[in-house]
C-alpha cells in the first residue's frame, strides 16, 4: 500500500526578507518519512533561516509549508511542536538542575491520586523511551551531572517522548567524540525505522555520506540542488556550496610584511588545542580558519592572557612573554577584538567616549585623576578618523549599529596604540557597507605597519583579506597556507580534517 503522505514536510517557494537582506529566495525543501535529509551550505547560505521558519521562530515572507499534507503557518515554536516538530541544537536545551525524567515531563508533570507528582510513572515512562533508543541513563540523574553526549541523547529522547514526527539536528556532532558520534548515528537509524523524518545539518561533509539519504545544497539564500547522496560526492558538494565569484569587496592595498612581531611556539591547552606554531609579521594580515569549536578563539584568548595556556612559548617583538592577565598583553601592544562584541567587547550602557578611552585611561589621566576634556577629544578624533556614525560622543554604545559598535572597539585599541590587532569574527552582525569600511580600516592599519590576525568562519572573507592562513581542525593545526595556495576546496577539506 502506498503511503498516503510520503513527504512528511514540504516547504514550497520559501522566501524570507529581513530589512535590507533577502535571506532566502524561492527555496523548496521536502523531507520524507523515515528519511535523513541533509542540509548543507556555507555560513550565511540560509540554513538556519529555513530551519527557524520551519520551527516557527521566524515567519516567512512568502511560500507555503505542508506537514503531512496539511497546510500550516506556524506563529510560534510551541505551535510547531504541537505538529510534531522537534529540534536538537548543539547547545542542548535542557533544565540543567532537574532530573532526566523531570525534563521529559516538563510542563505536564503527572500527578498521583493525592495530587502529588507521580515520580514512579515519570521514571518508568522515561526509561521506556530511553531504552527504545538504547540510551542507558538513569531517569533520576540530574542533567548537569551528565556528559555533553549523554545530554544530547537525552534531548533526543525527550523529543521522541513528545511524539515528534520530524526531528531537526543542528550540528549534532560538533561536541561529540568519535564513539559518541557512532552512538548518535545508531540512534538516528533507530529513528528512521520509526518513520521519523529527519533534517540533518552539519559542516562535516563526511557524516552526510554516513547517515543521510538525500542532501539539499543552499548558497546565498538560493537552493542549488537536491540530490541522492549516492549520486554525489564531497568534491561536488563543496563545489556547489562555494561556486561564487568573490567581488572586489576584499581588495585592499598591501605592503610587504616586515619583521616578525608575534611568535607562537608549541602552544597547547588540554583538549582545546594542541601544538600550535605560527608567527605574524609587521604589516601582515594573518588568517585563522576552522569550523566552530576548532579552537581558534581559544588560541587567541590564551595568547591574550584571557585564558591560561598549558604549555608553549609566546614571543612579542623578539622577547619571550608570559602574560598573566589581559592587562599584561595589552601593555605589550596586543589588542583583542572579541567575536562576541556585546558580551566581551563593549560596555553597552556606557557612552562612546567611555568605551573608546577604556583601555587607555592612563593616557588621559595623571596620578589617577582623569582629564575628561582630553578623553572627549580622543573620542572625537577617532570618531572622525573611522567615520563612526553616532549623534554624540555621549551616546550609549547600545544605540549604535553593529558596524559602528565595531568601530568603537577598534577606536579603543587605536587610542591605546596597540600594534598587534586580533580580530575574532570582525564583521559578524555588520552590514555590507560597513564591512567594506572595516576592511578599509585594515588597510590603514597595515600601512602603519601594525599586524593583524583575522579569525573568520566566512571563507571568502579570510581568503580575500589575508596574506597567510592557519587552518584548524578540532584543536589541531592542519596547515599554514600562503596566499598563492588558497583554494576554497582545499581549505574546506583541511578544515574538515582531510589532508
Amino acid at each position: 500500500m502506498p503511503l498516503k503522505y510520503e513527504n512528511i514536510v514540504e516547504m514550497k517557494n520559501i522566501t524570507k526578507e529581513f530589512p535590507g537582506v533577502k535571506a532566502l529566495t524561492d527555496v523548496d525543501l521536502d523531507v520524507r518519512k523515515g528519511e535523513v535529509h541533509a542540509l548543507v551550505g556555507e555560513n550565511g547560505a540560509g540554513k538556519s533561516t529555513i530551519i527557524k521558519i520551519l520551527m516557527g521562530v521566524y515567519t516567512k515572507t512568502s511560500g507555503q509549508i505542508f506537514i503531512e499534507g496539511e497546510k500550516v503557518d506556524f506563529k510560534s515554536p510551541l505551535q510547531a511542536q504541537r505538529y510534531g516538530l522537534g529540534a536538537v541544537y548543539q547547545d542542548v536545551n535542557l533544565a540543567q538542575h532537574l532530573s532526566v525524567a523531570e525534563n521529559f515531563f516538563m510542563g505536564k508533570l503527572p500527578k498521583t491520586k493525592l495530587g502529588f507528582v507521580d515520580y514512579k510513572y515519570m521514571c518508568d515512562e522515561t526509561k521506556k523511551v530511553l531504552d527504545s533508543i538504547e540510551v542507558y541513563v538513569n531517569p533520576k540523574s540530574i542533567i548537569k551531572t551528565l556528559s555533553v553526549a549523554q545530554q544530547e541523547m537525552v534531548s533526543i529522547g525527550k523529543i521522541l517522548h513528545q511524539k515528534s514526527k520530524i526531528v531537526i539536528f543542528d550540528e549534532p556532532t560538533a561536541l561529540l567524540t568519535n564513539d559518541e558520534t557512532e552512538q548518535l548515528f545508531r540512534i538516528i537509524k533507530l529513528l528512521k525505522e520509526k518513520d521519523v523524518g529527519i533534517l540533518y545539518i552539519s559542516h562535516r561533509l563526511e557524516e552526510i555520506f554516513q547517515v543521510c539519504d538525500r542532501v539539499t545544497v543552499l548558497k546565498d539564500g538560493f537552493k542549488v540542488d537536491t540530490l541522492d547522496v549516492n549520486d554525489t560526492n564531497e568534491d561536488d558538494l563543496i563545489n556547489m556550496m562555494v561556486g561564487r565569484s568573490v567581488e572586489n569587496m576584499y581588495e585592499i592595498e598591501r605592503i610587504v610584511p616586515g619583521d616578525i612581531v608575534l611568535g607562537v611556539k608549541n602552544l597547547s591547552s588540554g583538549k582545546t588545542f594542541q601544538d600550535i606554531n605560527f608567527n605574524v609579521k609587521k604589516g601582515e594580515i594573518f588568517g585563522m580558519y576552522g569550523l566552530v569549536g576548532s579552537g581558534r578563539t581559544e588560541i587567541v584568548r590564551s595568547i591574550f592572557g584571557a585564558d591560561s595556556k598549558e604549555s608553549g612559548t609566546i614571543t612579542v617583538k623578539g622577547q619571550e612573554v608570559d602574560f598573566k592577565s589581559p592587562k599584561d598583553a595589552i601593555n605589550a601592544g596586543i589588542a583583542l577584538l572579541p567575536e562576541n562584541r556585546k558580551d566581551e567587547g563593549l560596555a553597552l550602557i556606557l557612552s562612546v567616549s567611555t568605551n573608546i578611552n577604556m583601555a587607555s585611561i592612563e593616557n588621559i589621566s595623571s596620578k589617577g585623576i582623569i582629564d575628561n576634556k582630553k578623553g572627549y577629544k580622543v573620542a572625537g578624533d577617532f570618531i572622525d578618523i573611522l567615520k563612526t556614525r553616532t549623534p554624540s560622543i555621549h551616546q550609549r554604545v547600545q544605540n549604535l549599529s553593529g558596524g559602528n559598535q565595531q568601530k568603537v572597539v577598534i577606536s579603543k585599541w587605536l587610542a591605546k596604540g596597540s600594534d598587534i590587532f586580533i580580530f575574532d569574527e570582525p564583521t559578524v552582525g555588520v552590514d555590507v557597507g560597513a564591512k567594506r569600511e572595516i576592511y578599509k580600516i585594515f588597510e590603514e592599519l597595515i600601512k602603519q605597519e601594525k599586524a593583524i590576525i583575522v579569525i573568520s568562519s566566512y571563507l571568502p572573507e579570510v581568503m580575500g583579506l589575508t596574506d597567510r592562513m592557519l587552518i584548524m581542525h578540532e584543536g589541531k593545526q592542519m596547515a599554514i597556507l600562503d596566499k598563492s595556495e588558497f583554494s576554497e576546496e582545499y581549505i574546506l577539506k583541511l578544515a574538515s580534517g582531510f589532508k
Binding site: 584571557a306 560596555a347 589617577g368 582623569i370
Partner: protein
Amino acid sequence: MDKVNENSKEVQKVKFYKSGIKTEMYLLIILAILFIVLALNSPVFLTASSLKTLLRQASIYGIVAIGMVFVITSAGIDLSVGSVVGLSGVLTAIFIMQGLPIPLAIIISIAAGAFIGLINGILIHDGKVPPFIATMGTMTVTRAIIMLITGAKMISGLPKSFTGIAQKTVLGIPFLFVSWIVVVIIAWFITHKTVFGRNIYALGSNKEAARLSGIDVRKTTYGVYIFSAFVCSIAGILLTTRLGNGVPTSGTGYELDAIAASVVGGASLDGGEGSVIGTVLGAMIMATLRQGGTLLGINSFIVEIIIGSLIVVAVLIDKLRKN
C-alpha cells in the same frame, strides 16, 4: 560600493554636550514640590530647628547611601553596611571609654570597619561568592561580634567633647550635614574624575569587557567595598555622637534605606549606572517625607507606604523613560 561612498561623504557633526533631562532634574523637582507642600501646610517646617533636624537625620544614612551607590554601580550589593555602622560606632565608644584619645579611637574604628569591606571584596572577587550572599554573611557575623564585645549592652558615659560633635554647627549648618557634603564632594570627584571611579562604571556595565580592556577587576572590586565600609564607619561614628552612647543595635536596617536612596537616585541594580547627586536627592526626599509625616501628624505607617511606593514608581518611570 555606492553605499560606502555615500556614507563617507555624509558630513558628520559630533556633539560634545549631553542632551536630555537627567534623573537628577526630576528628583530635584520632586524635592522642591515636597518642600513647598510642607511649608504651606506646616508653620514649623521651614524653621531653623526643624530644618536642622531634617539635615541631621538625612545625613547619616545619606553617607551610607553614597557607599552603597558605588557598590551598586559596580553591579554589586552591600548588605553589611548597617553592621559596619554599628561596629565602628560601638568600637569608638569602647576605645574612648578605655581612655584612648578621641582621634585615635576614631582612626582605629574606621580601620576596623574598612577591614570588613576588604573581606567583602575578597569573598566576592577571589571567592566568587555572589555579593548578596557574601555581604549577608558579613552583616550577620559583624552584628554578632558587636553583641559579643558589648554583651548586648549600651556603652554610656561618653565625654561631652565627643557627644557634642553632633550638635556642632559650621556657619550655622549642622556638622553632620557638612560631613555628608564632604563625603558627597569626594565621591562625586571619584566618580567623575578618577580612573578608579570610571573603572567602577566599566566593571558594572560589563565585567568581561572591562577585564579584556586591561582594567584591574580585583583592585576595583576591593576598592568599591572598602570605600563603602569606610564611609559607613564614618557614619557609625557620627551616629554614636548623635545618640550620645555606643548602641549595639545602631545601624540596623540601614542597608535598605541606602539601597532605596541609590535606586531612587537612578542607580541600576544591573550595574553600570549610578549617580552620587541622584543618591543625595533620593536620600533627601525620603528624609523629607518622614520629617513631613511627623510634622503633619500623619500615621508613620502611611508615610512608609508612600516611601515604598516611591521606590517602585521611581524605578518604573526610569525603565519606561529609557525604553
